[in-house]
């Protein structure tokens, strides 16, 4: 396959060879893989974008509790704070990104319709960062799509070299992957080179290596939803550093290898089993009891 890639190195080579950005290679790859026309793929991504957008819009307005009742109105609070930015330390882009990410996370917990990007648990980071940035740039929808395609290509590199399953790799595989993807997507939207995109991904991903997946009572709510918001800050921070001239000392492909190894050696209790970490704190156990789940240990 002409546009086949598995690693960042493959991808960067392809972008050089064809003199196009990562997002373009992602489109060509998908077109070749599926046999669909480029326009079909672009339309499919537009549909994806629209569904994400609806989830964001619904989420920032709603204060309905989740099905299990432990999350539900934070997106609205943070979004409201945009009216009084003087009080906040973050700027408009970061605070709005957090509000959007919380919105998607809360919609997900309400069993609303979302796009798993790359997974449902980490679905808030990419739309949070990219939508907020697009509004800032007053970017056309085109640029936003570029960010999404670029982020997806990075997701493929992670899925090929490691995993995007928390049951296999812990939260580094969900929020960590999403943050790495968003960092690259944002960097491409800002006009960064493919190398810079992967530098941003590497810096972001390194900060998430080893993160436990320890959701309370196994629900994708605590700590998941807020981790999406904080993940936006990490992605934007990594991209900012790269645009200021910083590089990642460890190349992205090696970070992915590290993630795989850490995932393999990580204890089962913190890999989406709700048997360790935050899940077995007194607060976690209280919730387990409420839902009739077995209590194994308390910290």
């Amino acid at each position: 396959m002409k546009y086949h890639f598995q690693t960042a190195e493959d991808l960067i080579k392809l972008t050089k060879l064809h003199k196009v950005p990562i997002s373009e290679i992602a489109k060509l790859y998908e077109s070749q893989r599926s046999g669909s026309a480029l326009s079909t793929i672009r339309n499919k991504m537009k549909l994806t974008r629209d569904i994400m957008y609806k989830a964001v819009k619904k989420g920032i307005k709603s204060n309905k509790k989740s099905i299990m009742g432990i999350s539900g109105s934070d997106a609205q609070k943070v979004y409201e704070s945009l009216k009084n930015l003087k009080k906040m330390m973050g700027n408009k882009v970061t605070v709005r990104a957090m509000a959007y990410a919380l919105a998607v996370g809360e919609q997900n917990a309400r069993m609303g319709r979302i796009v798993a990007f790359p997974t449902a648990g980490g679905a808030g980071v990419v739309p949070g960062v990219l939508f907020s940035a697009a509004e800032h740039f007053k970017a056309g929808k085109r640029k936003l799509l570029r960010g999404m395609f670029c982020a997806s290509a990075v997701g493929i590199v992670i899925a090929e070299g490691s995993t995007i399953s928390a049951a296999k790799g812990g939260c580094q595989a969900e929020i960590g992957a999403a943050v790495a993807m968003a960092a690259a997507g944002l960097t491409e939207m800002r006009g960064g080179t493919p190398e810079q995109c992967f530098d941003a991904s590497a810096i972001a991903f390194k900060s998430y290596l080893g993160l436990a997946c320890d959701p309370l009572a196994g629900l994708v709510e605590v700590p998941c939803i807020k981790r999406n918001a904080i993940g936006c800050m990490a992605a934007i921070g990594a991209s900012d550093m790269v645009m200021a001239g910083v590089k990642s000392y460890v190349p992205f492909d090696e970070v992915v290898r590290a993630a795989k190894d850490i995932g393999r050696t990580m204890p089962r209790t913190i890999k989406e089993t709700a048997l360790g970490g935050l899940a077995i704190t007194p607060t976690g156990n209280r919730l387990k009891k409420k839902l009739g789940l077995r209590i194994t240990r308390e910290l």
Binding site: A109, A116, P118, T119, A120, M148, G155, S165, A166, T273
Partner: protein
């Protein structure tokens, strides 16, 4: 070819809360139902690993059952799949069971039955809504549920060299469809063959016609109606 799709990453479009425990579970259910063909009266889900630990909070149970009821991953009805099954008088049960070390932590065995047949399917949800089917009855296989690539036929037949070449010929004779690749597993005197096809989707009447016209074949199932993402 098994390349991951861009839309395996930017997707699936789904109802929450978990891509592996909700959307992936739903897809395994859809798969099992497509292989079963017909309406089951009773469905038993054996939950393994992380599926067994946290299925409740992720609505894995509702999603698995929803999939068996042919709901899509983005169908808001998944929330109410228990009610839908009750209405359709389909019995369902969830049990925890360790299926073996070799399986991914997000794995389920689904046993579907009615008065005419019984079928068991083992499937894993390997992340981001991507699934793999690893066992159908006694046959160990590996069907990767890649986005938009469900154009396969699953055939159980007597262990007999002549069956598949003949069937291949017949499929290739259909307009716009070509057999691209065949995988086979044999258990005792039966063989399970998976014919990966290319081109258009095969229609149900065509599948039924093929099944009728072939000797030594127990069943032919098409996966081409399965959800494309």
């Amino acid at each position: 070819m098994n390349e991951i799709s861009i839309f395996d990453i930017a997707g699936p479009i789904m109802v929450g809360p978990s891509s592996s425990h909700t959307a992936g579970a739903c897809k395994i259910g859809q798969f099992a139902r497509a292989l079963f063909h017909g309406t089951p009266r009773k469905v038993t889900f054996y939950l393994h690993g992380s599926f067994a630990e946290v299925y409740k909070g992720h609505a894995t149970d509702r999603a698995l059952l929803g999939g068996v009821l042919k709901m899509r991953t983005s169908d808001p009805l998944i929330k109410d799949s228990f009610k839908v099954a009750d209405k359709k008088k389909i019995e369902y049960e969830f049990k925890k069971k360790f299926l073996g070390e070799r399986y991914h932590p997000n794995t389920v065995e689904i046993v579907l039955e009615n008065s005419r047949r019984k079928l068991s399917v083992i499937g894993s949800s390997v992340g981001g809504g991507v699934i793999e089917i690893l066992k159908i009855d006694n046959f160990n296989i590996r069907l990767r549920g890649r986005a938009g690539k469900y154009l396969s036929l699953v055939v159980r037949h007597d262990k007999n060299k002549m069956v598949i070449p003949k069937l291949k010929e017949k499929v290739n004779a259909l307009k716009g469809i070509r057999v691209h690749d065949v995988e086979q597993r044999t258990y005792k005197d039966k063989t399970l063959s998976i014919l990966h096809t290319k081109g258009r989707r095969i229609k149900l009447p065509e599948v039924i016609e093929l099944e009728k016209s072939m000797q030594h074949v127990d069943f032919i199932r098409s996966l081409s109606k399965l959800e494309k993402q």
